[in-house]
Amino acid sequence: MEPNLSTKEKITWCSGCPNSQILVSFRKAITELVQNNELKIENIAAFAGIGCHGKISDYININSFTSLHGRLIPAMTGTKCANRNLTVIGFSGDGDSLDEGVEHLIHAAKRNSDVNLFVHDNQVFALTTGQADAMSAKGYKGKSTPLGNIEEPFNPLLLLLSAGATFVARTYAGDIEGTKKIMQAAIAHKGFSFVDIIQPCITFFDTRDHFKERIYWLPEDFPKGDLKAAMEKVSGNLPAGEESIDEKVPLGIFYKVEKPTFEEELYKFS
């Protein structure tokens, strides 16, 4: 039976915002998992932070926890520790998890908490009207950086690989089928799964053309258990907005290894 995932709430994202595509991908992903009896709908706990992405809690008829800005990750770990039968999925933004809550992101990867984090990465603070954030390129002009951003952005995939995430992937919001598959792979993975979802902000930083020309899926035979190969693969990709870039932007699973999870270890000892 197809679960009823829609709610009474009216969607208030900008018309044409790729957040809606992420929502569609997620609904498809969990509908299939529920229909195939791989997941019970009541056992999903979906978390969100604060930012445009965070509205997603109101648009899916499943258990949800809309945390404070940047603080969904510790709450996710708490929930997973408290009930290991739950599948814990977090929606976050680049401002949410790479600015405000970056310490939690790194530590969740370090402790390999068995939760999934999907970052709606639009390289800008959108809900607060377009300021530069941790993913904005140097030179980005927003209302708080009228002369151009003077900082270099993070490379989130490299950061997460270094921190110890056991599943690191990237997808593009406009590719609904591809995003759905990556979400399902992340959910199936035991351990901390990090998915960077490129989500162009059509109002404040429209990168749709930039990415459409550059994205490609990693070949099937990309070695997923090789940290060095993964780091090499992700380290050359400059974010949109950097001058004179011509690199392609690979999508797919860069890294996936099995390690004991934080929650397993917590219940193993004492």
């Binding site: 809690s57 258990n63 949800s64 945390s67 408290a82 939690h104």
Partner: protein
């Protein structure tokens, strides 16, 4: 004032950090406890690991001892400088022991007791500090998770509970910082587990936004604040009662909470048990205010874990329940958990949360929110809260006049009728606190309209000495 009338003996143990001062103090205290004495054991130490001067001081008596005394009957020196550092606390007949092994020390103490014809009796309870008693209270009320980042003087809660973990029961997590700790705890609560966090005032300052979230989302949570001398990093290993206002007003926005202020180990046990039960009964955050003195000093206490009844909310539902969708959010929301911003919906939800106040106050009225000691009819009244209880009750042994002593255990909501009843007929009221702004006196004025003009305040981070405090109070109640 005649101190000789009182059969309280005091032993000091001094040495360098790392030389086993605390252990020696506990050993002597345990031996005396087994011999049926009532004991109060304090520790003083600087914020370092090795070297520096550590001091344990224990006062004991056949009668109740509420606080340690400065003047020493016996001084045990583990190094050369100890006796010199404490020479102002020596009396002409102070027995000085140095370089002796433990059995020899206890033998010498036994000899003194024999000389003074003091007979041993039956043990009067366990020797326990406030943090451990508080932790045992939490456990008795069904604690599932304690999540904390180390910070003196709250750290021993973390250590004690970490040592009590079981494969499928209590779990203790030390995450990356205090912000993570409290948000992780809220995640545990969302999944239906009973959680507590603890820190000093500085760590709790970092938790403010999430504390407010617990209020907004009606998530039951217990927070222990073990106060220390502040502001900022302050004096990490010294005490203070300067976070009373901070706790009452904690978190941005308005939402109901309970703030309990136990005054000794036994009350700390009950504060732990009650706090967890109140949090879950009313779906609110509950704060327990401890302080360095209460947290770390040990005293003989009696409490029974088996008498704690676990209270639960009858309406809460958790993720994993068939056909139920459980939505929690930090945004204002409707009763299903969807975001709202229409003024009528916002007001409705604020009113819904504050509708609990009546139930909380009804609960409060069935509880021992204040305690009265001394002469209940006296027009001289001393009012206090928290660990100052020990100093005041011990000082009372040296008062020249009968006085009424009022201890306040609930600071939010405030038991205003009861306080009013006890204070309104007083001719003289003296408020005793270890802070600069006399926070309790200001709270009493705010809630009852009673202005307390006489205050004895200490904010140098050191504890009151009962005999000094008695001298000060005697001076003020002379007329």
């Amino acid at each position: 004032m005649n101190t000789d009338k009182n059969n309280v003996f005091t032993i000091g143990v001094g040495g360098a950090a790392g030389e086993g001062v605390k252990k020696t103090g506990i050993n002597i205290a345990s031996f005396l406890r087994d011999a049926g004495f009532d004991i109060y054991l304090s520790f003083e130490y600087p914020s370092l690991i090795r070297g520096g001067h550590n001091f344990a001081r224990l006062s004991f008596s056949k009668d109740r001892v509420w606080n340690d005394h400065s003047k020493l009957d016996v001084m045990v020196s583990l190094n050369d400088e100890s006796a010199e550092l404490h020479k102002n606390e020596m009396k002409p007949d102070t027995l000085q022991l140095s370089g002796l092994p433990m059995p020899e020390i206890t033998q010498r103490i036994q000899n003194i007791l024999k000389e003074k014809n003091i007979e041993p009796g039956e043990p009067k309870g366990v020797l326990i500090d406030g943090n451990t008693a508080f932790s045992r209270g939490l456990m008795a009320a069904g604690l599932d998770f304690y999540i904390s980042y180390p910070m003196t003087p709250a750290t021993s809660i973390l250590h004690y509970l970490a040592s009590k973990q079981t494969p499928d029961g209590l779990k203790v997590i030390q995450p990356e910082n205090e912000i993570s700790a409290i948000n992780m705890a809220l995640g545990c609560v969302y999944a239906g587990k009973r959680a507590a966090v603890g820190s000093a005032g500085g760590g709790f300052a970092l938790m403010q936004e999430a504390f407010s979230f617990a209020g907004m989302a009606e998530l039951p949570l217990v927070v222990a604040i073990a106060q220390r001398q502040a502001p900022a990093t302050g004096v990490p290993t010294r005490s203070s009662q300067s976070d009373l206002r901070f706790a009452i007003h904690a978190g941005h926005g308005e939402f109901p909470r309970i703030v309990l202020a136990p005054g000794d180990s036994e009350e700390s046990f009950w504060a732990g048990a009650d706090a967890l039960n109140f949090a879950w009964k009313f779906q609110i955050p509950v704060i327990v205010l401890l302080d360095k003195i209460l947290s770390e000093h040990m005293m003989t206490s009696i409490f029974d874990e088996n008498s704690v009844v676990i209270a639960r909310s009858e309406t809460m539902v958790f993720p994993g329940t068939l056909d139920k969708v459980v939505k929690v959010t930090s945004y204002e929301h409707d009763e299903e958990g969807f975001t709202v911003d229409k003024p009528e919906n916002v007001k409705k939800m604020v009113d819904k949360r504050f509708a609990k106040t009546a139930n909380i106050e009804a609960e409060m009225n069935n509880r021992e929110t204040i305690k009265i000691y001394g002469d209940k009819s006296s027009e001289n009244v001393i009012v206090f809260w928290g660990s100052t209880k020990g100093a005041v009750l011990e000082a009372a042994k040296y008062f020249n006049k009968e006085v009424k002593m009022v201890q306040i255990l609930w600071v939010e909501p405030f038991p205003k009728e009861r306080v009013l009843e006890e204070l309104s007929k007083a001719k003289k009221i003296i408020c005793v606190e270890t802070n600069h702004n006399s926070q309790l006196a200001s709270l009493i004025r705010e809630k009852t309209g009673i202005e307390i003009s006489e205050k004895i305040l200490k904010y140098d981070s050191s504890p009151f000495d009962p005999e000094d405090l008695a001298k000060e109070i005697n001076e003020r109640i002379k007329e």
